[in-house]
Structure formats: structure tokens, C-alpha cells
Symmetry: C2
Subunit: 145 residues, 2 copies
């Protein structure tokens, strides 16, 4: 009597695409990634399945970066780093606050906390480097002007 959940090839491949990368993809990224092997794939199908997977607890959302929601196939507790320049997202496996923090907040504030997100912002290595190069250039231009 209960509704059967069907796992089509597309659905499976969408999930595999997220779980098989560490780049924390957006819906658009998954769509572009699978389009060659699934010419008839619709962007709406990707969105629908991402929501479906999140409901099922198979993936989690990292949050919105540059106006696009980013997803993560890794479920073990870990933090994220977002480069505010290029928008890349990195896992920080070793960094996570005390596991009882959700409980603590729930008790202290009378809430029903289910999860938390710890996200660091700044510049990734390559962006920090190119930015310092650029400021070097600017200094040169300023001094030469």
C-alpha cells in the first residue's frame, strides 16, 4: 500500500554525481555534468531530485554561495570553507565544534535544534595569491603614475 520510491537511472546518476565529487556542486553544475550522458535531462529534474535527496537525508545543503545553492554528498560532521572571491567550497574534516552543542543550545534557549553549520569565509590559497599580486601591480601603477 505504501508508495514505492523508484530509482531511475537519472535519479541514481544525479546522486552519484554529487557523491562522486568534492566540489560541492550547484544544481547547474550537476546538470552540465550529466547532460552529455543524459541528453534529455531537464534542469527541473535535477532540482526536484536534489530536494528529494535532501529530504531523504542522502545529501545536505552547504548554503547559498554567489546566489546558487550548493550541495554536499558527505554526511559525516564537518565544516566548510567558502572562498568569497572564486566561490569554491572546501571541506574541513578536522574542524567541528563539540557534538553536544546542538543539545546545549536546545536546552539553553528552549529550541528544537536539529543541526548546525560552521562555515568559514575568506580567500583560498590561489585567490589570496592572485590578490596580493594584483595589489603589487596596483602599487607599481600608483608609484609609477
Amino acid at each position: 500500500m505504501e508508495r514505492a520510491i523508484r530509482y531511475s537511472q537519472k535519479r541514481a546518476d544525479i546522486l552519484a554525481a554529487i557523491q562522486g565529487t568534492d566540489c560541492h556542486p550547484s544544481a547547474e553544475w550537476v546538470y552540465q555534468q550529466l547532460k552529455p550522458s543524459h541528453p534529455g535531462l531537464s534542469l527541473g529534474t535535477v532540482y526536484r531530485n536534489l530536494i528529494f535527496f535532501r529530504q531523504q537525508g542522502l545529501i545536505q545543503s552547504v548554503g547559498v554561495v554567489g546566489g546558487q545553492e550548493r550541495f554536499d554528498g558527505t554526511l559525516t560532521p564537518h565544516s566548510h570553507f567558502v572562498c568569497d572571491s572564486c566561490g569554491s567550497v572546501l571541506d574541513l574534516p578536522g574542524i567541528h565544534p563539540d557534538g553536544d552543542l546542538d543539545q546545549t543550545v536546545s536546552r539553553q534557549y528552549g529550541l528544537s535544534v536539529q543541526r548546525h553549520e560552521l562555515t568559514f569565509h575568506g580567500l583560498c590559497q590561489s585567490c589570496a595569491q592572485s590578490q596580493s599580486n594584483q595589489s603589487d601591480q596596483n602599487n607599481k601603477e600608483e608609484t609609477s603614475a
Copy 2:
């Protein structure tokens, strides 16, 4: 010679609206709030000033909740709680990880971390209550059917 930054009444009132509430408003909220006293206010002006204030370091962004960016006039380090049901945002003044965490992550991963966000998700008190009531109702309906 240098360009003067002008503080119009509207600009001041937009800032005051954010700093005078603890509801972590969206641009739309500020617009609706000020419309009665500023009939000729444009939503674009609100957006432009929110970006301006963030650049000036007068406010910060809490992140995107339900597709809308939410802002915070409190600058002291603190965490947030987001109700995934009604979208309300609460400050958690007592909750924040070690202040050296940014430095630790920077060194450990070779990044240039500038800040971090610790956000808890779950249900607020009223939503947790109404949700349990609703499930009670559902149970009644199921058993009576």
C-alpha cells in the same frame, strides 16, 4: 576633492530600522517598515543601502533564508538560530566557538580565513509546538478513518 559620503534621512532611517530590531530583517521587510513614513521609498534604494552598509562594516549578512538575504545590525560575535519552518532568525549571544578558530583553520589548511558563521537549524518553540499539535491531529484523523 574627495567624494563626500552623504547621509540622507532615508539612508539614516534604513540603518536605524536594521539596528532597531532583532528580527534580522530582509530588504523587503525594511522596505515595508519604512514605506508609511517614506511614501516615495524605492526598494532599490533599500537594496543599495544594505550593500553600502555592509561595505562600511555597519551591518552584516546572516545568510539566505527562504531565498531572501537576511541582515543583522549587531556586530559583536555571536551565533544564529534559523527556524526551518517559519524562517525566523534568533541571536544566540552566549554561543560562539573559540576566537582563535579562524587562525587555526588558516594555519591548518593554508587559507586566508577572515570570519566564520555558526548557524543552528531546527524548529523554534512555537513551530515545534504547532507541529506536534498537527501530528496529533493527523494521528486522530488516521485512527478515526
